[in-house]
């Protein structure tokens, strides 16, 4: 199951295919707290990039800035060369960035199929009068969207739960449903915030399969994850944040042996020991 994708070297970013996502000295300040401090990195098209770091490192804040839930205090965020800073979240979603949340945020008392159908909201054309009077166009669109949503549920093995409330799904399936919802609008960049949190090892294996399948379809995936086994296995590149600062980025192997990363996770003593090469674990 190990993904052995050819990875371009880190230096010649200009020569590589244009980055789908570029953060340029992005900062976020909450009052006196500098949650993200001048972080710069890129995600190339078709890559799987993981962002790791201890709790409170500013990972989710970075996600929230990319998806427009928080405005960045400083810096530029470019999606396919277009700045998304200050853009409302739904426009960013329509542009092609969708996400899942660390604590699952499904629409609890809405059926699973409707959850996925909401995902296609921004791609639909039917206006209120068309839906009110059920014009042929609206009917057709509704039917198409419902069929696509059902197909997507089937793909994720959720078709049995199509008419159940999202809240009533087992936990692992809720995580999947959230991914299905995020995919419904046909994004090009998918942000997953700790997708493996709370999953058992079997579910984690399935999750990794889903992620690599999605990449095979041409999707770029940027995820936050604490489970090092998942991170090391699926990531093309890893970005490490600590106290809001970017402390390392590179191939999994490079990051694993990076003393600063080990220090961030395990303290300075461990970093000294790691010179002799023990494994980093989460």
């Amino acid at each position: 199951m190990t993904v052995t994708a050819p990875v371009s070297p880190a230096e010649p970013l200009e020569a590589a295919p244009p980055p789908i996502l570029q953060l340029d000295r992005v900062s976020k300040r909450f009052g006196g707290l500098l949650a993200v401090n001048a972080v710069s990195f890129t995600v190339a098209t078709g890559e799987i990039v993981s962002m790791i770091g201890p709790n409170g490192a500013g990972k989710t804040t970075a996600f929230n800035m990319v998806t427009g839930l928080y405005p960045a205090t400083a810096g530029r965020i470019l999606f396919n060369g277009q700045s998304v800073v200050g853009m409302p979240p739904h426009r960013i979603a329509k542009l092609g960035i969708t996400r899942t949340f660390q604590n699952i945020r499904l629409f609890s008392f809405v059926t699973a199929v409707d959850n996925v159908m909401v995902g296609e909201h921004c791609k639909m054309h039917e206006n209120i009068f068309q839906s009110m009077f059920k014009t042929p166009h609206a009917r057709r669109e509704e039917r198409d969207v419902e069929l696509r949503a059902l197909a997507s549920l089937r793909e994720f093995g959720l078709e049995r739960y199509a008419d159940s409330y999202a809240r009533n799904l087992p936990y692992g399936l809720q995580r999947r449903l959230e991914i299905a919802r995020a995919l419904a609008s046909g994004p090009t960049l998918l942000l997953l915030d700790e997708p493996a949190a709370g999953l058992n090892s079997q579910e984690k294996v399935e999750l990794m399969q889903i992620i690599s399948d999605l990449r095979a379809k041409g999707l770029t995936i940027f995820l936050i994850e604490h489970d090092m086994r998942v991170v090391m296995e699926i990531s093309d590149r890893i970005v490490v944040l600590d106290h809001g600062e970017l402390i390392a980025q590179g191939l999994p192997v490079e990051v694993r042996n990076n003393p600063r990363v080990i220090e961030a996770y395990l303290g300075s003593g461990a970093a000294a020991q790691s010179e002799r090469g023990p494994q980093t674990t989460a």
């Binding site: 998806t67 427009g68 839930l69 409302p88 979240p89 739904h90 979603a93 329509k94 969708t98 996400r99 949340f101 945020r105 499904l106 629409f107 609890s108 008392f109 809405v110 199929v113 409707d114 159908m117 909401v118 995902g119 909201h121 921004c122 791609k123 639909m124 039917e126 209120i128 839906s131 009110m132 009077f133 059920k134 609206a138 669109e141 509704e142 039917r143 419902e146 059902l150 549920l153 078709e159 049995r160 739960y161 199509a162 008419d163 159940s164 409330y165 809240r167 009533n168 919802r181 995020a182 609008s185």
Partner: protein
């Protein structure tokens, strides 16, 4: 367990007392074998089934119209309830027909009771369509029984106003027939009703509604209540339900839009400004103006949630009647309001002050509003409302524009309220700022919550119930208690001054209903399972020692 239901059509054919429940009616249990597309198939079927019910309903209504006339000619003007027919010797063909109906009714009641008994003995697996069907059966059966019992009372006691003894039996026949039709239809179309309970229920209710002016033809004040209180409040509650129930935005100033609609239409069709536009155009203007104000007043609240939103809307609810009271722009007539508003007319026929025409118009409008809202609820916008209600952040990140979604909720809710305002003014002929005070907003909100937040059927039922309690029951409390006291030898009951007690009684009834049905009379599926889930997690918290 029976074989898995694969073909959605099979549900229609095989559904009966012993058939298993299609799983989409089951809320919390994990779903099983039904394919996911069944719901879609069911939706497609419903339009065909509905037409069938409408045709059947029409046939019954026509038959109902003909029968009393027919019987009257043949039965010497004697009362002709089914009971009378059974107890008195058949004297003509009409009585014979009534006799047949009586037997059919007895059969239906027995059937209903048998069903009830069955459902009691086969308990342990509560199935929803079972309950719905049983509820309808009880409705029909109880209705019929009540008719039989009331006939005696109606002759002597003016429960619904002044009724002559002959007219009482006339009214009773209408009621009896209606009950019979309801039961007959419910059972006749049972498999269909099972799969489309909501639509069938709505059809039956509207049929009864349309017959109301005939059923109570001797009691104009009851129809006045129906037109000016029940229908208006139902319409208001349906509008507010969009804002509060669908989109989850707590609005405490809803009467403002009611006022805007009433004043707009009043100004355009009264001597105040010398304008006399036709009513059927004016209501659309009122609707549009109210919708506009809905968006305008909604805009400042976009950043607010929950309690804070409620306070701001409360402010709007105070501003509008106050502005009207202060005769702002000299357009509202100050505390006297607008008088002499034109009564609507259609094809040269003026509605005048006859309540039943307003009642029928409002009934049609409510039916249209219900259908349109149902369409919206199952569309892109309806899902967006649900998404915003459940989790605004996730909705935005998923691509739902919270601004337009919320404004549309405010706007559409306000437009329905404007419509209600237009009718309110045209019916009464005058409007004053007093009619749009905070109390109206609160009453409508309590109607929505009591009826079942988010469920139009429930909200409509709540509208009828609350307006019945406030505008009919409390008004007649004195009279009822007097009659009751005389009947049971307690004349002291009639000597109490109930006018001091009415709001205590009203409050007690509201509290009682909410205790008995915490999610409302007919809760929406989401609301019901939310309450259940709340109960579960609370129980869990207790077990874990969190609380």
């Amino acid at each position: 367990m029976p074989e898995p239901i694969v073909d959605p059509l099979a549900v229609t054919e095989t559904a009966g007392p012993t058939t298993e429940e299609p799983r989409r009616d089951d809320d919390l249990a994990p779903p099983d074998e039904l394919p996911a597309t069944a719901s879609e198939a069911a939706r497609e079927e419903s339009s065909v089934g509905f037409t069938a019910l409408v045709i059947a309903g029409l046939v019954f209504i026509v038959a109902g119209w003909l029968l009393p006339w027919f019987v009257e000619q043949t039965s010497n003007g004697i009362g002709f309830s089914a009971q009378d027919a059974v107890s008195s010797p058949p004297t003509g063909i009409g009585t014979f027909v009534v006799y047949l109906i009586g037997v059919a009714m007895v059969g239906l009641v027995a059937f209903a009771l048998y069903d009830l008994l069955n459902s009691i003995t086969h308990r342990g697996r509560p199935l929803r369509w079972w309950r719905r069907r049983t509820a309808l059966a009880i409705l029909g059966a109880v209705g019929t029984l009540v008719v039989w019992l009331l006939i005696g009372v109606l002759r002597e006691e003016p429960l619904f106003g002044n009724i002559s003894s002959f007219a009482a039996t006339d009214n009773a026949v209408w009621m009896t027939l209606t009950g019979f039709v309801v039961l007959a239809l419910t059972y006749g179309l049972r498999p269909w009703v099972v799969t489309h309970g909501e639509v069938a229920f709505g059809g039956v209710v509207f049929m009864i509604g349309a017959l109301m002016p005939f059923i109570f033809n001797q009691s104009t004040s009851f129809i006045e209540w129906g037109a000016s209180a029940a229908a208006i409040y139902t319409l208001l509650a349906l509008g507010l339900n969009i804002v509060v129930g669908f989109a989850g935005l707590l609005d405490l100033g809803y009467a403002a839009f009611f006022a805007i609609g009433a004043y707009t239409c009043g100004s355009l069709a009264s001597p105040v400004h010398g304008l006399h536009f036709p009513f059927w155009i004016v209501i659309f203007i009122g609707l549009a103006v109210a919708a506009l104000f809905g968006a305008v007043l909604g805009a400042p609240t976009l950043r607010l949630r929950g309690d804070y939103l409620a306070i701001v809307t409360l402010g709007f609810g105070e501003i509008i009647p106050d502005a009207a009271n202060n005769n702002l722009f000299n357009a509202t007539g100050g505390p006297e309001g607008i008088t002499g508003i034109d009564h609507p007319s259609i094809f040269g026929f003026n509605f005048g002050i006859d309540a039943k025409f307003y009642f029928w118009s409002l009934l049609i409008i409510i039916a249209i509003v219900l259908v349109l809202l149902r369409n919206i609820q199952r569309s892109r916008l309806g899902r967006a409302w649900a998404a915003i209600r459940e989790d605004e952040v996730a909705a935005a990140a998923t691509g739902v524009n919270p601004v337009t979604t919320k404004l549309l909720a405010f706007s559409i809710g306000a437009s329905i309220s404007g419509l209600a305002g237009a009718f309110f003014g045209a019916e009464l002929g005058s409007i004053t700022p007093d009619s749009f005070q905070f109390a109206v907003s609160v009453t409508v909100l309590s109607t929505v919550v009591l009826g079942g937040l988010g469920n139009n059927t429930g909200v409509a039922a709540g509208g009828i119930l609350v307006s019945f309690i406030i505008f009919w029951m409390l008004d007649h409390l004195q009279e009822w208690m007097g009659t009751f006291g005389l009947k049971f030898g307690l004349p002291a009951l009639g000597t109490i001054d109930y006018s001091r007690w009415v709001y205590i009684v009203y409050g007690a009834i509201l509290v009682g209903i909410m205790l008995l049905r915490p999610a409302g009379l007919l809760p929406s599926r989401a609301r019901k399972s939310e309450l259940q889930a709340g109960g579960q997690s609370e129980a869990l918290a207790v077990v874990q020692g969190v609380v």
